[in-house]
């Protein structure tokens, strides 16, 4: 089966390294929304930072470096190395491109899903993978005309 990470509080991701670190305030009007460390963040219709998800259409731009809920101010980064949890049936493949699922999980590329990075290491037990995530780059597409 294709790569899909397990995204939950119990299967926490580990942020290993990051560059381009900044502080962002999570959308205060959705205080029940939970952002986990390693989530890709976008700007919602209220012009506030939120989990990048298809239903609300946010393009992924930054990587959350810590967990938070609506109204929190957290650290985020332009690029990060994150370790994610997989199952042995949904294991990642070294070198494969990573996309963002409509519900915020990292997974194999798929139609309509934004590219966000690559798999740079797979755990020997096939239950974890290290991803290099840089979600904003696919949106930088236009050179000077």
């Amino acid at each position: 089966m294709a790569f899909v990470e397990t995204r939950s509080a119990a299967a926490a991701r580990t942020v290993l390294d990051a560059v381009g670190v900044c502080r962002v305030a999570l959308c205060a009007t959705s205080t029940t929304n939970v952002v986990y460390a390693g989530d890709s963040l976008g700007i919602d219709t209220n012009s506030e930072w939120d989990l990048s998800a298809h239903a609300s259409g946010e393009q992924p731009l930054l990587v959350a470096l810590e967990s938070g809920v609506g109204g929190d101010t957290i650290s985020a980064a332009l690029m990060a190395l994150i370790e994610v949890t997989t199952t042995s049936t949904n294991v990642a493949t070294l070198g494969e491109e990573v996309a963002l699922k409509d519900t915020g999980e990292y997974q194999a590329t798929g139609a309509g899903l934004p590219d966000v990075g690559f798999v740079v290491s797979v755990g020997s037990d096939s239950l974890s993978a290290i991803l290099c995530i840089c979600p904003s780059f696919p949106q930088l597409t236009t050179a000077r005309a």
């Binding site: 690029m79 990060a80 491109e97 309509g112 740079v120």
Partner: protein, 138 residues
């Protein structure tokens, strides 16, 4: 003549790199070589075997070594005066793994940030995976 580096032992130097990753090689590489994956292992990215370029090797190393590699780094390369680079030009990867001027079918991997005063070196910003991430959310 267009830019082409001279790739030889000791011809490149990593000035800075971010987000280091530890990788196991299944092919000998030189410092600054761009790496891709084939058959589940890291090798030098080259056309004949089709690996897309992803990381930059930090050191010279034989096959089987475990080394540090970077997704984004600053590399100094050696050129000849006749094949010197131009500040700001796009850098591509030749089919044999050398840095060179952009060309048809060659992957863009970065750009030239500066040129040595003697026209025999150039400093490049190399970020090989960037061009492969081409799909935004729809």
């Amino acid at each position: 003549m267009p830019f082409a580096e001279t790739r030889a032992t000791g011809s490149r130097r990593i000035i800075n790199g971010v987000l280091p990753v530890i990788v196991t090689l299944s092919e000998a590489v030189q410092c600054g070589d761009v790496l891709g994956v084939t058959g589940g292992t890291w090798v030098r990215s080259a056309h004949t075997t089709g690996e897309q370029p992803l990381l930059v090797a930090s050191v010279d190393a034989p096959s089987g070594d475990i080394i540090k590699a970077f997704p984004l780094c600053i590399v100094e390369v050696t050129t000849t005066a006749a094949n010197k680079s131009t500040v700001g030009e796009i850098v591509a990867l030749s089919d044999t793994g050398n840095y060179q001027a952009a060309g048809t079918g060659l992957p863009d991997i970065g750009f030239t940030a500066s040129i040595g005063g003697d026209n025999l070196t150039a400093v490049m910003v190399i970020f090989p995976m960037a061009t492969q991430m081409d799909t935004a959310r729809t």
